[in-house]
């Protein structure tokens, strides 16, 4: 039951955001024709929607189960945040403190979860942000042994990432509860 709901929650978010990116890609392609070759190399002359579907398929196949759970949680948080925001727009923002703390709790938790996801997938398959980590390694390679050491330290421990996550969440919810009146 929860898995179904979460996939349902995750899919609109995923499908809506590619549409924005595709919109920008089309505008970018219109403005600078050089760039149009970028995304289209993947499948020649495929429409934006097909690219999005391709991305979605690849996501479904390549992501490990754990990370999918995190994604589902993030989608759920985004849904909660959207509902709260809608309520605020439609029904007025009377208990403004309560709305703010609820909304920022969901946003903050979303962000923290995203950070946790990045940190945990960094050391793993590296499909999501492999390029980012490689860029980081390149950036750090120049600066000498000290930074190499730190990046190695950061990369390894999932436990550390989770502990950080818990620490951040504790602070977040403490502030929210304090703020909610």
């Amino acid at each position: 039951m929860p898995s179904k709901r979460s996939t349902a929650a995750a899919s609109p978010a995923a499908s809506s955001s590619p549409s924005t990116t595709t919109a920008t890609t089309t505008t970018a392609a219109a403005s600078t024709p050089k760039l149009s070759s970028g995304p289209k190399t993947l499948s020649t002359n495929s429409s934006a929607f097909e690219i999005a579907q391709h991305v979605w398929q690849q996501y479904l196949t390549s992501t490990p189960q754990r990370t999918k759970m995190l994604d589902a949680f993030m989608g759920f948080l985004a849904l909660i945040g959207a509902v709260q925001f809608l309520y605020c727009v439609l029904a007025g923002n009377y208990p403004f403190n309560a709305f703010l703390s609820g909304f920022s709790a969901s946003v903050g938790q979303f962000v923290l979860t995203a950070s946790l996801r990045m940190q945990t997938t960094n050391g793993g398959s590296g499909s999501g942000s492999g390029s980012a980590s490689s860029g980081k390694a390149a950036g750090k390679g120049k600066s000498g042994g000290k930074f190499m050491n730190e990046s190695g330290e950061e990369g390894i421990s999932h436990e550390r990432a989770f502990a950080d996550f818990v620490f951040g969440s504790l602070i977040l919810h403490f502030f929210c509860i304090n703020f909610i009146n």
Partner: protein, 742 residues
Amino acid sequence: MADSPVDALLKGSSGRTTRGMLRIIILAIIAAAAVSSRLFSVIRFESIIHEFDPWFNFRATKYLVQHGFHSFWDWFDDRTWHPLGRVTGGTLYPGLMVTSGVIYHILRFLTIPVDIRNICVLLAPAFSGLTAFAMYLLTCEMTVSPSAGLLAAAFMGITPGYISRSVAGSYDNEAIAIFLLVFTFYLWIKAVKNGSIMWGALTALFYGYMVSAWGGYVFITNLIPLHVFVLLCMGRYSSRLYISYTTWYALGTLASMQIPFVGFLPIRNSDHMSALGIFGLIQLVAFADFVRGFIPGKQFQRLLTTMIILVAAVAFLGLVLLSASGVIAPWSGRFYSLWDTGYAKIHIPIIASVSEHQPTAWPAFFFDLNFLIWLFPAGVYMCFRELHDEHVFVIIYSVLASYFAGVMVRLMLTLTPIVCVAAAVALSTIIDTYVLTTPGPLPRAKSSVESSSDGLRSTRGPVVGITSYVSKAIVTVSVAIYLLLFVAHCTWVTSNAYSSPSVVLASRLPDGSQFIIDDYREAYYWLRQNTPENAKIMSWWDYGYQIGGMADRPTLVDNNTWNNTHIATVGKAMSSPEEVSYPILRQHDVDYVLVVFGGLLGYSGDDINKFLWMVRIAEGIWPDEIKERDFFTARGEYRVDDEAAPAMRNSLMYKMSYHNFHSLFQPGQAMDRVRGSRLPAEGPQLSTLEEAYTSENWIIRIYKVKDLDNLGRSHNNAVSFDRGQKRKRATKRKGPRVLRTE
């Protein structure tokens, strides 16, 4: 972290521990020097709170210690801004008071009974020691050379630009805020480097503390997003950046909203919108990066950059639209005055009237920073040469802070940390380059510089033609001389310019002995002793906090200038003739009026010199009744002597300042030593006020507002009748006799 692995690798672990020990000792010595160089004022005068704002902070701290935290939070102060009152708990930055309250209670718990006043006086020096330490940490993040950190700490400890706000007794928000600023930046750099939630959360916590301590937190609120934005534009997005920024923003915004004074500002005020915009932007970028993992394509980087620029443009347009339509509150006035230096003068005289909001004079840079100011660009250049994420931060910070420091004197304070960082980087590079690039051993030169700069680093740089003894000796000696000059300059500036409490004045008699002028406290103490508990004192707002703190009497306006109209009312009362002023005084229940007058002593910071600001502020509200032009002579001069403009001579302020002043001198010899002008032989006549007290050197004059006349006469009539009565006393005998005959 301070012991960089490079050193350990090259020198072996035994040398490493020794060096770590040395470093700790040196830092401790720096902190001690930082603390002790701020104690001039305590030694020279006494342990006293300085200036104006600190008196309010002191009073609030006393309230906090006496009544506890909760009643402090809900404090409604009916003894200021009479008759409005002030919701003090909701309109102050509580960080400073809470900090000293906590220290007080800890010391009490440790059974060390220390007076709260002494804690308040010594808080700023204590925190400056911590600032030096935070500076060391921050600089160590910027460079691998540990000598730079120690140099920066030493600079920060004694540079006058920072001492100006943190001498003992200057119990102001900046006292702890600069430490928090530096430390928050350190944590932020750490977070960006490590990309861990923990550092981001710590940054947010210290940011929250900073928000609770100083309104200057807006600087952080805008600097960090700008740093992130520049990094994004440079195509340096990484998960580390995402993690640290989003964690900081989500937690930091919530933390800042806990402070009642800040409240909903972070989502309403334009000052904070850039942070929100970057937050949204980095979400988009992160998503794009995420999608990129699935799409092969080398041009994605460029696509990303285009997307960033597009979205930024859209967000900026949206921000402009929202600001224009009034959903988001417009930029605050102080902010406008940062961009347009003439803005405040035209629109908000109350902001322009504060001396620390004036633009900086250029010698002030050298005065406050000495030789750091010319090492500063070199240090920024060093940052360009490496240009990691943290160096980008230094560059952005230095550019912004240089601009702001040029606009407002007070913001020199935010420039000082980055100048120390950059100068230390530059200087340590010089030292390292010249002294340590030894192919062969040069023990003597090496040890001499070690002791002067505390630096020790072996660079593996190429051997160039600077290894000769001569060049080394020249550079070493000149650097040492510059450092010594810097120390001498700092000591001189601190002891001469920044250590005066301004509550107690010191001057030198012709024979060289010190002469203490203590008129302020004398007069405030007179008020405390001789007036009823609830007597309302009217004065110009500069003295509101001092009256509240030292005399403990209700005031009409004070340095928390939240209500411009009320201040303008006081300005109007001061600048109008008596007939107009008296009803205003009666309406506001004023019992005593206090003016500061320096004419006898030559004390230039008195009310007549501030008078034009009162007129301007009053004119802003009542342009029909008060006109600034009327207070100048026909030739546009601001005079107080015979040729003074009629509006000037009839104004209450003029009358109160010069009341009876001529009686001190020979007839016609009355001299105002501030304005350097001879006063009219006939002094002004006051009818609605009577002189209650004048301090020893006439700096403070207190007048009592007369009650309504018993016989229903106007005060003018009553006074002239009184004066006439004395003359008629001889004829008075005839009166009853006539009556009797009739």
